[in-house]
């Protein structure tokens, strides 16, 4: 009797929607807890210790790591460089993505092909291989410089000049505009064509309908892309690591690269953790600012 009851209880339990849901969500929950949540919490603890990968003893040092941030020249430098990278690359990338998405809304038979082609850099862009190609392109005797010399200009030492070295990296990030472009393209499709027809009847030209119809209707999507790309840009690592290793004279020392160096090269994991948490604060502030200002420029059809 009892076992019978229990069995049917188990049966019921296994058949409940929640159970099935949790079983299917288990891989994610497991991964999230083990590979995100726990490391995040431990890194918060390590930020207040002198933990290094080589030694087994961990000593609590209070806020010393955070205090050290403000006396560290390279830290200040890397923060400045990362902000510059974000403020230049994100607007350029979004403009470019929107432009290409807009051009590709015109119905041609090759539309799908073009979209896929422009999306390819985003797929491969984060990889080491592309970074190596980029390094070769801008090398002293690379393609870019041979084109320049062929055209009668003098060649440019891209990665040898502290002031120049960041721009090839920015360009590489702009080149990976594909994912924003796809999202823009989807957004453009959602804008009812009746708006454009009405505007045309009223005598609006292409420019006017772009700025008066397309941009406002697309603004929620621009906001989304802006936030996502800003966060992504703050985390830029691969290009700087592979192409310049942060040089010359720390001219491309991205924040994430400096965190990596401190953690794995200089053996200051505790300090690196403190830096990561500081970056989280900076990114949060900037994201909040974007959201707060958004009510001035994001147009919501339902609102008014």
């Amino acid at each position: 009797m009892i076992t019978e009851k229990r069995r049917s209880g188990l049966k019921n339990f296994m058949n409940r929607n929640e159970t099935v849901g949790y079983v299917f969500a288990f891989p994610f929950i497991f991964g999230f807890i083990c590979f995100s949540l726990i490391p995040i919490l431990t890194s918060f603890y390590y930020a207040f210790t002198d933990f290094s990968m080589g030694s087994k003893t961990v000593e609590f040092v209070g806020g010393r790591n955070f205090g050290q941030l403000f006396t560290d020249e390279i830290f200040t430098k890397s923060l400045g460089i990362t902000l510059k990278y974000v403020f230049i690359s994100v607007p350029m990338k979004l403009t470019f993505a929107l432009l290409v998405a807009f051009l590709l809304t015109r119905k041609t038979r090759l539309q799908v092909l073009y979209r896929s082609l422009y999306y390819v850099p985003s797929l491969v862009g984060g990889s080491i291989a592309v970074a190596l190609v980029w390094k070769q392109l801008f090398a002293r005797k690379g393609l870019i410089n041979s084109i320049l010399t062929q055209a009668g200009l003098s060649s440019i030492n891209w990665f040898g000049d502290r002031k120049l070295a960041l721009y090839p990296l920015i360009l590489m990030s702009v080149w990976q505009f594909g994912s924003s472009m796809i999202i823009f393209a989807a957004g453009l499709k959602e804008i009812p064509s009746t708006y454009y027809e009405a505007a045309r009847i009223d005598g609006a030209n292409g420019m006017q309908s772009f700025f008066r119809i397309t941009l406002p209707c697309l603004s929620p999507i621009i906001l989304y892309n802006l936030v996502m790309q800003t966060i992504q840009a703050f985390m830029a690592f691969t290009q700087a690591f592979v192409i310049t290793a942060g040089g010359p004279d720390n001219g491309t020392m991205m924040y994430a690269l400096y965190v990596y160096n401190q953690a794995f090269k200089y053996n200051n994991m505790g300090y690196a953790c403190a830096m990561s948490w500081f970056m989280l604060a900076v990114m949060s502030v900037i994201t909040v600012v974007i959201f707060r200002t958004s009510k001035f420029w994001v147009f919501s059809e339902a609102g008014d």
């Binding site: 080589g54 990665f159 290793a245 040089g247 010359p248 004279d249 160096n261």
Partner: protein, 476 residues
């Protein structure tokens, strides 16, 4: 119905997965319990041991009797850094060992220098350091993970009688602990392109040439050929140049960059660095040495600008010389080796013959004895070293060195002659060729300071002060 089935299967497989994991780790811990120094706790975290697990339990009992001749299947993990040539020959040597010892399987990984140490640091943190791993003068940082080889030598497990006492010493610490066995003798030098010197009308470097001669040669070569006068891997430059420069001042052995027991600086006056930093900056400014951008294009010695024909000289650890000599010879160019320039022609040479790298046994290893046996074979077997061919430096074992000397290539002959030449230089009784933990950051900053001198942001004097302060901060 299908949903139910799927859910059951999924949850069942998850549960089984969990069981399998916990089963494996407990077995590993049990298997490693009899390990020599009671490292059971460390070994418990060794997930890479999963394939070994099944055999371990049974095998350990056998091991207690005498493991020397047992056919117990053993899997050793090994890693090293180096160039493609080294990877190829090391893999060939490993295959030979596996043939001779069918019970041993060696899983190997290889890296370039920087990535090797990044990987090693993560393995140190997770107590999973390779059974056999390569280390250089930076071993103090990893000393907690190194199993000293004294016990294996004393117990007669490995026979190192073929290696002279002096060469065993180069991989011992001051307390006499055998950190590892040396891969070969090595020293730094400057490889140069003879034709480029002639083309520029610069006299070939004499045995006791000075830094002024060096600078002069670099400038003239770059002027006459449009190439770099002197190129070089950034990682070699600090030790071969900057650090040697300190040792060359005063009387023999008076100064060193760091002190002998690696607890502080080996010199007092930061300004001793200034002339060297000024010279480096001048060469870069004049286009006679690669700037930071060009330097990034050199990834290993095989694509150094000297090898590609775009530079007249470069720093080398001399074990690298035969390889690049052969590459250049194929292209019809002749390379030669010069000594590291001196501060004064009659002053100390500052050069030291040292161990290129060594192979160490890891404390995390389950098979420390097997690892030690492989290392001893690697350093003393003539067959093995015929494959390795002195690529890691001049072998330390007498019989091996004798066997290889019979048919040296031209490049190797030059290297052998060079090392015996450096051996005749007056050297201090005790030298310190080790790097303290934290040196990486000092070197990175030092290179940035030089670039700041080039761009005129700071003076060479300030760069010297900053470098000295950075280095001193390691010990605080």
């Amino acid at each position: 119905m299908f949903k139910k089935f799927l859910a059951t299967v999924l949850s069942a497989s998850l549960i089984m997965g969990l069981c399998a994991c916990s089963g494996a780790s407990s077995e590993t811990a049990a298997g490693s319990a009899p390990a020599a120094d009671g490292s059971a706790v460390e070994a418990a975290g060794d997930t890479a041991g999963e394939e070994k697990v099944t055999e371990t339990a049974a095998a350990e009992t056998e091991k207690e009797e005498e493991s020397a001749e047992s056919a117990e299947p053993v899997t050793l993990r090994m890693a090293w850094w180096g160039s493609q040539t080294r990877h190829d020959i090391t893999v060939a040597a490993i295959e030979l060992y596996e043939q001779e010892h069918p019970n041993v399987t060696i899983e190997y990984e290889f890296f370039d220098f920087d990535n090797y140490f990044t990987k090693l640091k993560t393995l140190v943190a997770s107590d999973q350091v390779w059974d056999i791993f390569q280390l250089g003068g930076n071993f103090p940082e990893y000393i907690d993970k190194i199993c000293y080889m004294n016990e294996f030598i004393d117990s007669g497990l490995i026979d190192v009688s073929d290696i002279p006492e002096t060469y065993l010493k180069i991989t011992q610490d001051t307390a006499g602990n055998q950190i590892g066995l040396s891969n070969g003798l090595n020293t730094y030098g400057i490889a140069y392109d003879v034709d480029m010197f002639n083309e520029a009308g610069v006299p070939l470097p004499a045995e006791n040439w000075t830094w002024d001669d060096y600078k002069d040669a670099a400038l003239k070569i770059s002027e006459a050929t449009g190439h770099f006068g002197s190129s070089g891997l950034a990682s070699s430059e600090f030790i071969a140049g900057c650090s040697t420069y300190i040792g060359q001042q005063g009387s023999v052995g008076q100064y060193g960059f760091f002190n002998l027991d690696l607890t502080g600086m080996g010199f007092e006056d930061a300004q001793m660095l200034t002339p060297y930093i000024q010279m480096r900056a001048d060469l870069i400014k004049a286009g006679a040495s690669p700037d930071a951008g060009a330097e990034m294009e050199i990834t290993n010695i095989e694509n150094d600008f000297l090898v590609t024909g775009e530079a007249g000289m470069t720093w080398v650890a001399v074990n690298q010389f035969p390889t690049i000599y052969d590459i250049c010879k194929e292209e019809g160019r002749t390379l030669a080796l010069a000594t590291i320039p001196r501060v004064k022609p009659d002053g100390p040479a500052g050069a030291v013959i040292q161990s290129s790298q060594m192979l160490c046994v890891s404390k995390d290893s389950q098979y420390k004895e097997e690892a030690a046996k492989f290392i001893a074979w690697f350093q003393t077997s003539v067959e093995c070293n015929k494959i390795l061919n002195g690529e890691r430096g001049i072998p330390v074992a007498d019989s091996v060195r004798a066997a290889l000397e019979e048919n040296l290539t031209e490049g190797q002959q030059i290297m052998y002659d060079y090392v015996s030449l450096v051996g005749t230089f007056e050297t201090p009784e005790k030298v310190n060729v080790l790097s303290p933990d934290g040196q990486d950051q000092v070197v990175d900053n030092y290179r940035n300071y030089i670039q700041q001198v080039v761009s005129g942001e700071i003076t060479a004097e300030e760069a010297a002060d900053k470098t000295y302060a950075d280095a001193k901060a390691i010990f605080q």
